[in-house]
Protein backbone atom coordinates (compact mmCIF):
# COMPACT_ATOMS: atom_id res chain seq x y z
CA UNK A 1 0.00 0.00 0.00
CA UNK A 2 1.05 3.53 -0.71
CA UNK A 3 2.58 5.13 2.34
CA UNK A 4 0.65 8.36 2.26
CA UNK A 5 -2.58 6.38 2.16
CA UNK A 6 -1.81 4.18 5.14
CA UNK A 7 -1.53 7.05 7.61
CA UNK A 8 -4.50 8.71 9.17
CA UNK A 9 -3.48 12.19 8.16
CA UNK A 10 -3.23 13.67 4.71
CA UNK A 11 -6.88 13.43 3.78
CA UNK A 12 -7.25 15.31 0.53
CA UNK A 13 -10.45 16.83 -0.73
CA UNK A 14 -11.30 15.07 -3.95
CA UNK A 15 -13.03 17.01 -6.73
CA UNK A 16 -15.93 14.52 -6.81
CA UNK A 17 -16.57 15.19 -3.12
CA UNK A 18 -16.67 18.90 -3.67
CA UNK A 19 -19.15 18.49 -6.50
CA UNK A 20 -21.37 16.28 -4.38
CA UNK A 21 -21.35 18.80 -1.55
CA UNK A 22 -22.27 21.53 -3.99
CA UNK A 23 -25.21 19.57 -5.41
CA UNK A 24 -26.50 18.59 -1.99
CA UNK A 25 -26.08 22.15 -0.79
CA UNK A 26 -28.03 23.52 -3.73
CA UNK A 27 -30.88 21.07 -3.23
CA UNK A 28 -31.05 21.82 0.47
CA UNK A 29 -31.08 25.53 -0.22
CA UNK A 30 -33.81 25.09 -2.83
CA UNK A 31 -36.03 23.06 -0.52
CA UNK A 32 -35.45 25.50 2.32
CA UNK A 33 -36.21 28.49 0.11
CA UNK A 34 -39.39 26.87 -1.21
CA UNK A 35 -40.60 26.08 2.29
CA UNK A 36 -39.87 29.59 3.47
CA UNK A 37 -41.55 31.09 0.43
CA UNK A 38 -44.57 28.88 0.90
CA UNK A 39 -44.89 29.62 4.61
CA UNK A 40 -44.20 33.30 4.07
CA UNK A 41 -46.80 33.51 1.31
CA UNK A 42 -49.46 31.97 3.52
CA UNK A 43 -48.50 34.19 6.44
CA UNK A 44 -48.55 37.37 4.44
CA UNK A 45 -51.84 36.59 2.75
CA UNK A 46 -53.37 34.98 5.82
CA UNK A 47 -52.36 37.09 8.78
CA UNK A 48 -54.10 40.16 7.39
CA UNK A 49 -57.28 38.12 7.37
CA UNK A 50 -57.01 36.98 10.98
CA UNK A 51 -59.21 39.55 12.63
CA UNK A 52 -60.73 39.62 16.04
CA UNK A 53 -64.19 39.33 14.54
CA UNK A 54 -63.20 36.29 12.51
CA UNK A 55 -61.90 34.49 15.58
CA UNK A 56 -64.76 35.36 17.89
CA UNK A 57 -67.95 35.04 15.87
CA UNK A 58 -70.02 32.50 14.02
CA UNK A 59 -70.79 32.99 10.32
CA UNK A 60 -73.81 35.17 9.77
CA UNK A 61 -75.43 34.70 6.34
CA UNK A 62 -77.86 37.57 6.88
CA UNK A 63 -75.33 40.31 7.35
CA UNK A 64 -72.85 38.27 5.33
CA UNK A 65 -70.03 38.06 7.82
CA UNK A 66 -67.78 35.08 8.26
CA UNK A 67 -66.48 33.81 11.60
CA UNK A 68 -64.65 30.66 12.53
CA UNK A 69 -65.33 30.47 16.25
CA UNK A 70 -67.58 27.40 15.84
CA UNK A 71 -64.81 25.63 13.95
CA UNK A 72 -62.27 26.59 16.62
CA UNK A 73 -64.57 25.19 19.31
CA UNK A 74 -65.16 22.01 17.30
CA UNK A 75 -61.43 21.60 16.88
CA UNK A 76 -60.84 22.03 20.59
CA UNK A 77 -63.59 19.55 21.44
CA UNK A 78 -62.29 16.96 19.02
CA UNK A 79 -58.72 17.34 20.29
CA UNK A 80 -59.86 16.97 23.87
CA UNK A 81 -62.11 14.03 23.18
CA UNK A 82 -59.60 12.20 21.02
CA UNK A 83 -56.91 12.57 23.68
CA UNK A 84 -59.28 11.40 26.38
CA UNK A 85 -59.72 8.18 24.41
CA UNK A 86 -56.29 7.79 22.85
CA UNK A 87 -53.90 8.64 25.69
CA UNK A 88 -55.10 6.12 28.27
CA UNK A 89 -55.54 3.39 25.67
CA UNK A 90 -52.24 4.20 23.97
CA UNK A 91 -50.15 4.49 27.11
CA UNK A 92 -51.90 1.54 28.72
CA UNK A 93 -51.31 -0.49 25.58
CA UNK A 94 -47.65 0.45 25.50
CA UNK A 95 -47.24 -0.48 29.16
CA UNK A 96 -48.99 -3.76 28.53
CA UNK A 97 -46.89 -4.63 25.49
CA UNK A 98 -43.66 -3.67 27.18
CA UNK A 99 -44.18 -4.91 30.70
CA UNK A 100 -46.79 -7.63 30.74
CA UNK A 101 -47.18 -9.34 27.38
CA UNK A 102 -44.56 -12.05 27.47
CA UNK A 103 -45.68 -13.77 24.34
CA UNK A 104 -43.31 -12.63 21.63
CA UNK A 105 -45.82 -13.50 18.94
CA UNK A 106 -48.52 -11.30 20.43
CA UNK A 107 -46.05 -8.44 20.71
CA UNK A 108 -45.04 -8.83 17.10
CA UNK A 109 -48.65 -8.92 15.93
CA UNK A 110 -49.41 -5.75 17.85
CA UNK A 111 -46.32 -4.02 16.59
CA UNK A 112 -47.05 -5.06 13.02
CA UNK A 113 -50.63 -3.83 13.33
CA UNK A 114 -49.66 -0.48 14.76
CA UNK A 115 -47.07 0.04 12.06
CA UNK A 116 -49.50 -0.88 9.30
CA UNK A 117 -52.17 1.38 10.73
CA UNK A 118 -49.82 4.33 10.66
CA UNK A 119 -49.29 3.91 6.92
CA UNK A 120 -52.94 3.81 5.87
CA UNK A 121 -54.32 6.90 4.08
CA UNK A 122 -56.66 8.79 6.34
CA UNK A 123 -59.65 8.66 4.02
CA UNK A 124 -59.78 4.91 4.57
CA UNK A 125 -60.11 5.55 8.29
CA UNK A 126 -62.87 7.97 7.36
CA UNK A 127 -64.78 5.33 5.44
CA UNK A 128 -64.29 2.80 8.21
CA UNK A 129 -65.26 5.32 10.86
CA UNK A 130 -68.40 6.22 8.94
CA UNK A 131 -69.48 2.61 8.54
CA UNK A 132 -68.55 1.54 12.05
CA UNK A 133 -69.11 4.53 14.33
CA UNK A 134 -71.70 6.60 12.49
CA UNK A 135 -73.83 3.80 11.10
CA UNK A 136 -73.18 0.58 13.02
CA UNK A 137 -72.84 2.16 16.46
CA UNK A 138 -75.44 4.72 15.43
CA UNK A 139 -73.42 7.71 16.57
CA UNK A 140 -74.46 9.56 13.42
CA UNK A 141 -72.13 12.06 11.82
CA UNK A 142 -70.87 13.72 14.98
CA UNK A 143 -67.90 15.11 16.82
CA UNK A 144 -67.72 11.98 18.91
CA UNK A 145 -67.61 9.76 15.83
CA UNK A 146 -64.84 12.02 14.55
CA UNK A 147 -62.92 11.72 17.79
CA UNK A 148 -63.24 7.94 17.81
CA UNK A 149 -62.02 7.73 14.23
CA UNK A 150 -59.10 10.00 15.04
CA UNK A 151 -58.36 7.87 18.09
CA UNK A 152 -57.71 4.91 15.82
CA UNK A 153 -55.55 7.10 13.62
CA UNK A 154 -53.32 8.47 16.38
CA UNK A 155 -53.12 5.34 18.51
CA UNK A 156 -50.22 3.79 16.58
CA UNK A 157 -48.09 6.91 17.10
CA UNK A 158 -48.91 7.10 20.78
CA UNK A 159 -48.33 3.40 21.37
CA UNK A 160 -45.05 3.30 19.47
CA UNK A 161 -43.66 6.48 20.97
CA UNK A 162 -44.71 5.55 24.49
CA UNK A 163 -43.21 2.11 23.98
CA UNK A 164 -39.88 3.61 22.90
CA UNK A 165 -39.97 5.88 25.92
CA UNK A 166 -40.66 2.95 28.23
CA UNK A 167 -37.92 0.86 26.66
CA UNK A 168 -35.47 3.67 27.27
CA UNK A 169 -35.91 3.45 31.04
CA UNK A 170 -32.84 1.53 32.23
CA UNK A 171 -33.21 -2.01 33.49
CA UNK A 172 -31.25 -1.05 36.60
CA UNK A 173 -34.12 1.16 37.80
CA UNK A 174 -36.54 -1.71 37.49
CA UNK A 175 -34.17 -4.02 39.34
CA UNK A 176 -33.61 -1.47 42.06
CA UNK A 177 -37.33 -1.06 42.61
CA UNK A 178 -37.97 -4.80 42.52
CA UNK A 179 -35.11 -5.33 44.97
CA UNK A 180 -36.85 -3.07 47.45
CA UNK A 181 -40.02 -5.08 47.14
CA UNK A 182 -41.95 -2.86 44.73
CA UNK A 183 -44.71 -4.62 42.88
CA UNK A 184 -44.65 -4.29 39.13
CA UNK A 185 -47.54 -1.88 39.10
CA UNK A 186 -45.93 0.27 41.80
CA UNK A 187 -42.71 0.35 39.80
CA UNK A 188 -44.62 1.32 36.66
CA UNK A 189 -46.35 4.16 38.47
CA UNK A 190 -43.38 5.58 40.30
CA UNK A 191 -40.45 4.86 38.00
CA UNK A 192 -41.52 3.96 34.48
CA UNK A 193 -44.25 6.45 33.72
CA UNK A 194 -42.52 9.50 35.24
CA UNK A 195 -39.38 8.67 33.30
CA UNK A 196 -41.24 8.07 30.10
CA UNK A 197 -43.40 11.17 30.50
CA UNK A 198 -41.42 13.43 28.17
CA UNK A 199 -41.68 10.84 25.43
CA UNK A 200 -45.37 10.39 26.05
CA UNK A 201 -45.99 14.14 26.03
CA UNK A 202 -44.11 14.35 22.74
CA UNK A 203 -46.37 11.67 21.31
CA UNK A 204 -49.43 13.54 22.51
CA UNK A 205 -48.29 16.79 20.94
CA UNK A 206 -47.55 15.09 17.64
CA UNK A 207 -51.00 13.55 17.80
CA UNK A 208 -52.58 16.94 18.36
CA UNK A 209 -50.79 18.06 15.20
CA UNK A 210 -52.30 15.15 13.35
CA UNK A 211 -55.77 15.91 14.70
CA UNK A 212 -55.55 19.58 13.84
CA UNK A 213 -54.40 18.80 10.34
CA UNK A 214 -56.86 16.05 9.50
CA UNK A 215 -59.55 16.92 6.97
CA UNK A 216 -60.60 14.08 4.67
CA UNK A 217 -61.66 11.58 7.31
CA UNK A 218 -63.37 14.17 9.46
CA UNK A 219 -65.38 15.53 6.57
CA UNK A 220 -67.00 12.10 6.36
CA UNK A 221 -67.52 11.23 10.01
CA UNK A 222 -67.79 14.52 11.87
CA UNK A 223 -69.45 16.73 9.35
CA UNK A 224 -68.63 19.57 7.02
CA UNK A 225 -70.05 22.70 8.48
CA UNK A 226 -69.50 24.95 11.44
CA UNK A 227 -72.23 27.54 11.26
CA UNK A 228 -73.44 27.77 14.84
CA UNK A 229 -71.98 28.18 18.26
CA UNK A 230 -72.70 25.24 20.57
CA UNK A 231 -75.93 25.69 22.43
CA UNK A 232 -75.71 22.89 24.96
CA UNK A 233 -73.01 21.52 27.20
CA UNK A 234 -69.87 19.76 26.01
CA UNK A 235 -71.57 16.40 26.28
CA UNK A 236 -74.56 17.50 24.21
CA UNK A 237 -72.45 19.25 21.65
CA UNK A 238 -70.28 16.24 20.87
CA UNK A 239 -73.32 14.35 19.63
CA UNK A 240 -73.81 17.01 16.96
CA UNK A 241 -71.95 17.23 13.71
CA UNK A 242 -69.44 19.97 13.13
CA UNK A 243 -66.31 20.71 11.18
CA UNK A 244 -62.85 21.53 12.46
CA UNK A 245 -60.57 24.28 11.18
CA UNK A 246 -58.86 22.05 8.64
CA UNK A 247 -62.19 20.90 7.22
CA UNK A 248 -63.38 24.48 7.07
CA UNK A 249 -60.23 25.43 5.22
CA UNK A 250 -60.92 22.70 2.73
CA UNK A 251 -64.43 24.00 2.18
CA UNK A 252 -63.55 27.66 1.99
CA UNK A 253 -60.68 27.02 -0.34
CA UNK A 254 -62.59 24.74 -2.66
CA UNK A 255 -66.28 25.18 -2.74
CA UNK A 256 -66.74 28.82 -1.98
CA UNK A 257 -63.62 30.42 -3.22
CA UNK A 258 -63.53 32.59 -0.10
CA UNK A 259 -59.81 32.94 -0.41
CA UNK A 260 -59.25 35.47 2.31
CA UNK A 261 -60.83 33.27 4.97
CA UNK A 262 -59.06 30.25 3.54
CA UNK A 263 -55.68 31.91 3.88
CA UNK A 264 -56.50 33.14 7.35
CA UNK A 265 -57.33 29.63 8.49
CA UNK A 266 -54.26 28.26 6.74
CA UNK A 267 -52.07 30.77 8.55
CA UNK A 268 -53.75 29.90 11.83
CA UNK A 269 -53.17 26.18 11.31
CA UNK A 270 -49.59 26.82 10.33
CA UNK A 271 -49.03 28.81 13.51
CA UNK A 272 -50.57 26.03 15.59
CA UNK A 273 -48.48 23.31 13.96
CA UNK A 274 -45.25 25.28 14.21
CA UNK A 275 -46.07 25.98 17.85
CA UNK A 276 -46.64 22.30 18.51
CA UNK A 277 -43.39 21.31 16.85
CA UNK A 278 -41.46 23.93 18.77
CA UNK A 279 -42.86 22.61 22.02
CA UNK A 280 -41.76 19.10 21.03
CA UNK A 281 -38.25 20.47 20.46
CA UNK A 282 -38.30 22.22 23.81
CA UNK A 283 -39.37 19.08 25.60
CA UNK A 284 -36.64 17.15 23.80
CA UNK A 285 -34.10 19.66 25.02
CA UNK A 286 -35.36 19.52 28.58
CA UNK A 287 -35.22 15.74 28.38
CA UNK A 288 -31.57 15.83 27.37
CA UNK A 289 -30.75 18.37 30.05
CA UNK A 290 -32.58 16.40 32.70
CA UNK A 291 -31.07 13.03 31.82
CA UNK A 292 -27.61 14.24 32.68
Amino acid sequence: MNRAMSGITGKRKRPADALLYLVIGLFTAAVFAMTMYFAGYIFVKGCAGITFALLTTAPNPIIRTIGILPAIINTAYIILLTLVFAVPIGVGGAVYINEYANKRKLIRVIEFTTETLSGIPSIIFGVFGYVFFCVFLNLKVSLIAGALTLTIMVLPTIIRTAQEALKAVPLSYREGAAGLGASKWYMIRTILLPNASSGIITAVILSVGRIVGESAALLLVAGGSAMYLPKGSFFEQIKNSGSTLAVELYRYAYSRGENEVGFAIAALLLIIVIGLNLSVKLIGKRLKGGAK
Binding site: Y173, E175, G176, A178, L180, G181, I191, A291
Partner: protein, 250 residues
Protein backbone atom coordinates in the same frame (compact mmCIF):
# COMPACT_ATOMS: atom_id res chain seq x y z
CA UNK B 1 -26.85 -18.77 64.50
CA UNK B 2 -27.90 -19.59 60.98
CA UNK B 3 -29.91 -17.03 59.08
CA UNK B 4 -30.27 -18.72 55.72
CA UNK B 5 -30.08 -22.42 54.93
CA UNK B 6 -29.71 -23.47 51.33
CA UNK B 7 -30.40 -27.12 50.63
CA UNK B 8 -29.65 -28.89 47.39
CA UNK B 9 -30.49 -25.79 45.36
CA UNK B 10 -30.63 -26.26 41.59
CA UNK B 11 -31.35 -23.55 39.08
CA UNK B 12 -31.76 -23.87 35.33
CA UNK B 13 -31.89 -21.00 32.89
CA UNK B 14 -33.55 -22.97 30.11
CA UNK B 15 -30.94 -25.59 29.23
CA UNK B 16 -28.22 -23.93 31.25
CA UNK B 17 -27.77 -25.68 34.59
CA UNK B 18 -26.47 -22.64 36.45
CA UNK B 19 -26.64 -23.87 40.06
CA UNK B 20 -25.94 -27.53 40.69
CA UNK B 21 -27.03 -28.56 44.13
CA UNK B 22 -25.83 -25.77 46.38
CA UNK B 23 -25.73 -26.47 50.11
CA UNK B 24 -24.71 -23.45 52.09
CA UNK B 25 -25.53 -21.87 55.43
CA UNK B 26 -25.35 -18.12 55.92
CA UNK B 27 -24.68 -17.11 59.51
CA UNK B 28 -26.48 -14.33 61.32
CA UNK B 29 -24.68 -10.99 61.66
CA UNK B 30 -21.67 -12.19 59.71
CA UNK B 31 -20.32 -11.18 56.35
CA UNK B 32 -20.22 -14.08 53.95
CA UNK B 33 -18.23 -13.56 50.77
CA UNK B 34 -18.95 -15.47 47.57
CA UNK B 35 -15.94 -15.82 45.29
CA UNK B 36 -15.29 -17.67 42.09
CA UNK B 37 -14.56 -17.15 38.41
CA UNK B 38 -16.91 -15.27 36.12
CA UNK B 39 -20.02 -17.19 35.16
CA UNK B 40 -19.81 -19.69 38.02
CA UNK B 41 -23.19 -18.70 39.42
CA UNK B 42 -22.42 -16.27 42.25
CA UNK B 43 -24.93 -13.64 41.15
CA UNK B 44 -27.46 -16.31 40.33
CA UNK B 45 -27.13 -17.78 43.80
CA UNK B 46 -27.36 -14.37 45.43
CA UNK B 47 -30.53 -13.59 43.53
CA UNK B 48 -32.20 -16.81 44.59
CA UNK B 49 -31.98 -15.51 48.16
CA UNK B 50 -34.54 -12.78 47.53
CA UNK B 51 -36.20 -14.33 44.50
CA UNK B 52 -34.89 -11.79 42.02
CA UNK B 53 -34.72 -14.62 39.49
CA UNK B 54 -38.47 -15.09 39.55
CA UNK B 55 -39.07 -12.92 36.54
CA UNK B 56 -36.38 -14.40 34.33
CA UNK B 57 -38.09 -16.31 31.52
CA UNK B 58 -37.66 -20.12 31.53
CA UNK B 59 -36.05 -20.24 34.93
CA UNK B 60 -36.50 -23.45 36.95
CA UNK B 61 -35.58 -23.64 40.60
CA UNK B 62 -35.60 -26.69 42.88
CA UNK B 63 -34.31 -27.37 46.36
CA UNK B 64 -34.87 -25.20 49.37
CA UNK B 65 -33.90 -21.81 50.67
CA UNK B 66 -34.90 -21.33 54.30
CA UNK B 67 -34.86 -17.89 55.85
CA UNK B 68 -35.23 -18.22 59.61
CA UNK B 69 -36.43 -21.79 58.91
CA UNK B 70 -39.13 -20.58 56.54
CA UNK B 71 -39.08 -21.75 52.93
CA UNK B 72 -38.92 -18.57 50.84
CA UNK B 73 -40.17 -20.45 47.78
CA UNK B 74 -43.17 -21.68 49.75
CA UNK B 75 -46.60 -21.00 48.31
CA UNK B 76 -47.68 -18.46 50.90
CA UNK B 77 -44.60 -16.24 50.77
CA UNK B 78 -45.20 -12.59 49.91
CA UNK B 79 -42.29 -11.54 47.72
CA UNK B 80 -42.69 -7.89 48.73
CA UNK B 81 -42.24 -8.81 52.38
CA UNK B 82 -39.39 -11.17 51.57
CA UNK B 83 -37.50 -8.40 49.77
CA UNK B 84 -38.11 -6.07 52.67
CA UNK B 85 -36.30 -8.61 54.85
CA UNK B 86 -33.65 -9.45 52.29
CA UNK B 87 -32.46 -6.28 50.59
CA UNK B 88 -30.13 -6.00 47.63
CA UNK B 89 -27.36 -3.66 46.47
CA UNK B 90 -26.36 -3.98 42.84
CA UNK B 91 -23.06 -3.97 41.01
CA UNK B 92 -23.37 -0.54 39.49
CA UNK B 93 -24.99 2.17 41.57
CA UNK B 94 -28.58 2.54 40.43
CA UNK B 95 -30.26 5.37 42.31
CA UNK B 96 -33.58 6.36 40.81
CA UNK B 97 -33.78 9.61 38.86
CA UNK B 98 -35.38 11.48 41.73
CA UNK B 99 -34.14 13.42 44.71
CA UNK B 100 -31.77 11.96 47.30
CA UNK B 101 -34.56 12.12 49.84
CA UNK B 102 -37.06 10.34 47.61
CA UNK B 103 -34.52 7.64 46.87
CA UNK B 104 -34.01 6.95 50.53
CA UNK B 105 -37.75 7.05 51.15
CA UNK B 106 -38.72 4.92 48.17
CA UNK B 107 -38.79 1.60 49.98
CA UNK B 108 -40.70 3.04 52.93
CA UNK B 109 -43.41 4.27 50.63
CA UNK B 110 -43.66 0.86 48.96
CA UNK B 111 -44.33 -0.62 52.34
CA UNK B 112 -46.99 1.90 53.12
CA UNK B 113 -45.25 4.28 55.52
CA UNK B 114 -47.06 7.60 55.13
CA UNK B 115 -46.21 9.74 58.14
CA UNK B 116 -43.98 12.57 57.07
CA UNK B 117 -42.08 12.83 60.35
CA UNK B 118 -41.44 9.11 60.52
CA UNK B 119 -40.13 9.08 56.94
CA UNK B 120 -37.88 12.07 57.72
CA UNK B 121 -36.49 10.27 60.70
CA UNK B 122 -35.84 6.98 58.94
CA UNK B 123 -34.31 8.72 55.91
CA UNK B 124 -31.84 10.48 58.17
CA UNK B 125 -31.06 7.33 60.12
CA UNK B 126 -30.47 5.31 56.94
CA UNK B 127 -28.30 7.98 55.35
CA UNK B 128 -26.25 8.09 58.54
CA UNK B 129 -26.13 4.31 58.55
CA UNK B 130 -24.71 4.34 55.06
CA UNK B 131 -22.14 6.99 56.03
CA UNK B 132 -23.36 9.54 53.55
CA UNK B 133 -25.47 11.84 55.72
CA UNK B 134 -22.83 14.51 56.20
CA UNK B 135 -22.22 14.75 52.49
CA UNK B 136 -25.85 15.14 51.48
CA UNK B 137 -27.72 16.60 54.44
CA UNK B 138 -27.80 20.07 52.89
CA UNK B 139 -29.06 18.92 49.53
CA UNK B 140 -31.56 16.19 50.19
CA UNK B 141 -33.94 17.60 47.60
CA UNK B 142 -31.40 17.63 44.78
CA UNK B 143 -31.23 14.90 42.13
CA UNK B 144 -29.49 11.72 43.25
CA UNK B 145 -27.94 11.32 39.81
CA UNK B 146 -25.77 14.38 40.47
CA UNK B 147 -23.86 12.47 43.17
CA UNK B 148 -20.54 10.77 42.49
CA UNK B 149 -20.53 7.04 41.83
CA UNK B 150 -19.32 6.23 45.33
CA UNK B 151 -21.93 8.48 46.90
CA UNK B 152 -24.59 6.94 44.69
CA UNK B 153 -23.64 3.47 45.87
CA UNK B 154 -23.80 4.54 49.50
CA UNK B 155 -27.18 6.10 48.77
CA UNK B 156 -28.29 2.75 47.35
CA UNK B 157 -27.13 1.10 50.55
CA UNK B 158 -29.08 3.71 52.54
CA UNK B 159 -32.13 3.02 50.39
CA UNK B 160 -31.83 -0.65 51.32
CA UNK B 161 -31.26 0.08 55.02
CA UNK B 162 -34.34 2.29 55.15
CA UNK B 163 -36.72 -0.65 55.01
CA UNK B 164 -34.89 -2.30 57.95
CA UNK B 165 -33.83 -5.51 56.25
CA UNK B 166 -32.33 -8.40 58.14
CA UNK B 167 -30.12 -9.58 55.31
CA UNK B 168 -28.30 -7.41 52.77
CA UNK B 169 -27.15 -8.96 49.51
CA UNK B 170 -24.41 -7.13 47.67
CA UNK B 171 -23.37 -8.08 44.17
CA UNK B 172 -19.88 -6.68 43.58
CA UNK B 173 -20.90 -3.40 45.22
CA UNK B 174 -17.53 -1.75 44.77
CA UNK B 175 -16.46 -3.00 41.38
CA UNK B 176 -17.51 0.25 39.73
CA UNK B 177 -15.89 2.48 42.34
CA UNK B 178 -12.53 4.13 42.99
CA UNK B 179 -10.30 2.94 45.86
CA UNK B 180 -11.39 5.61 48.32
CA UNK B 181 -15.09 5.02 47.78
CA UNK B 182 -14.38 1.31 48.01
CA UNK B 183 -12.64 1.81 51.33
CA UNK B 184 -15.58 3.79 52.67
CA UNK B 185 -18.01 1.07 51.69
CA UNK B 186 -15.81 -1.63 53.19
CA UNK B 187 -15.66 0.25 56.48
CA UNK B 188 -19.38 0.62 56.31
CA UNK B 189 -19.86 -3.10 55.83
CA UNK B 190 -18.11 -4.11 59.00
CA UNK B 191 -20.28 -1.54 60.74
CA UNK B 192 -23.37 -3.11 59.21
CA UNK B 193 -22.78 -6.58 60.67
CA UNK B 194 -23.74 -5.26 64.09
CA UNK B 195 -27.31 -5.32 62.88
CA UNK B 196 -27.41 -7.12 59.59
CA UNK B 197 -26.41 -10.33 57.92
CA UNK B 198 -24.41 -9.52 54.80
CA UNK B 199 -23.73 -11.67 51.74
CA UNK B 200 -21.32 -10.13 49.26
CA UNK B 201 -20.11 -11.26 45.86
CA UNK B 202 -16.64 -10.04 45.04
CA UNK B 203 -13.91 -10.62 42.49
CA UNK B 204 -11.41 -8.95 44.70
CA UNK B 205 -9.58 -11.52 46.85
CA UNK B 206 -8.10 -8.89 49.13
CA UNK B 207 -11.54 -7.48 49.68
CA UNK B 208 -12.95 -10.87 50.57
CA UNK B 209 -10.05 -11.48 52.93
CA UNK B 210 -10.31 -8.04 54.51
CA UNK B 211 -13.99 -7.79 55.20
CA UNK B 212 -15.64 -11.18 55.32
CA UNK B 213 -16.01 -13.64 58.20
CA UNK B 214 -16.84 -16.60 55.98
CA UNK B 215 -16.08 -17.33 52.38
CA UNK B 216 -17.69 -19.69 49.88
CA UNK B 217 -15.89 -20.62 46.69
CA UNK B 218 -18.06 -21.34 43.64
CA UNK B 219 -17.01 -23.06 40.45
CA UNK B 220 -19.15 -24.00 37.44
CA UNK B 221 -22.40 -23.84 39.34
CA UNK B 222 -21.15 -25.77 42.34
CA UNK B 223 -20.14 -24.63 45.78
CA UNK B 224 -16.70 -26.13 46.17
CA UNK B 225 -15.60 -24.99 49.58
CA UNK B 226 -16.94 -23.00 52.48
CA UNK B 227 -15.12 -22.04 55.64
CA UNK B 228 -14.02 -19.21 57.85
CA UNK B 229 -12.37 -16.65 55.63
CA UNK B 230 -8.94 -16.82 57.25
CA UNK B 231 -8.90 -20.60 56.87
CA UNK B 232 -9.97 -20.50 53.24
CA UNK B 233 -7.20 -18.07 52.45
CA UNK B 234 -4.53 -19.61 54.69
CA UNK B 235 -5.17 -23.28 54.10
CA UNK B 236 -7.84 -24.19 51.56
CA UNK B 237 -8.73 -27.85 51.65
CA UNK B 238 -9.68 -28.20 48.03
CA UNK B 239 -6.89 -27.80 45.43
CA UNK B 240 -9.29 -26.00 43.09
CA UNK B 241 -9.93 -23.36 45.74
CA UNK B 242 -6.22 -22.98 46.22
CA UNK B 243 -5.64 -22.63 42.49
CA UNK B 244 -8.26 -19.92 42.31
CA UNK B 245 -7.17 -17.80 45.25
CA UNK B 246 -3.54 -18.03 44.34
CA UNK B 247 -4.49 -16.80 40.90
CA UNK B 248 -3.64 -19.90 38.95
CA UNK B 249 -6.90 -19.74 37.06
CA UNK B 250 -10.06 -17.72 37.01
Amino acid sequence: MTKIVTENLHLHYGENHALRGINLNILTNKITALIGPSGCGKSTYLKTLNRMNDNVPNVKISGQVLLDSEDIYGGTVDVTKLRKKVGMVFQSPNPFPMSIYDNAAYGLRIHGVKKRLLIDEIVERSLRGAAIWDEVKDRLKTPALALSGGQQQRLCIARTLAVSPEVILMDEPTSALDPISTMKIEELMSELTKQYTVVIVTHNMQQAARISDYTAFFLLGEMIEYDETNRIFAAPKNPRTENYITGRFG
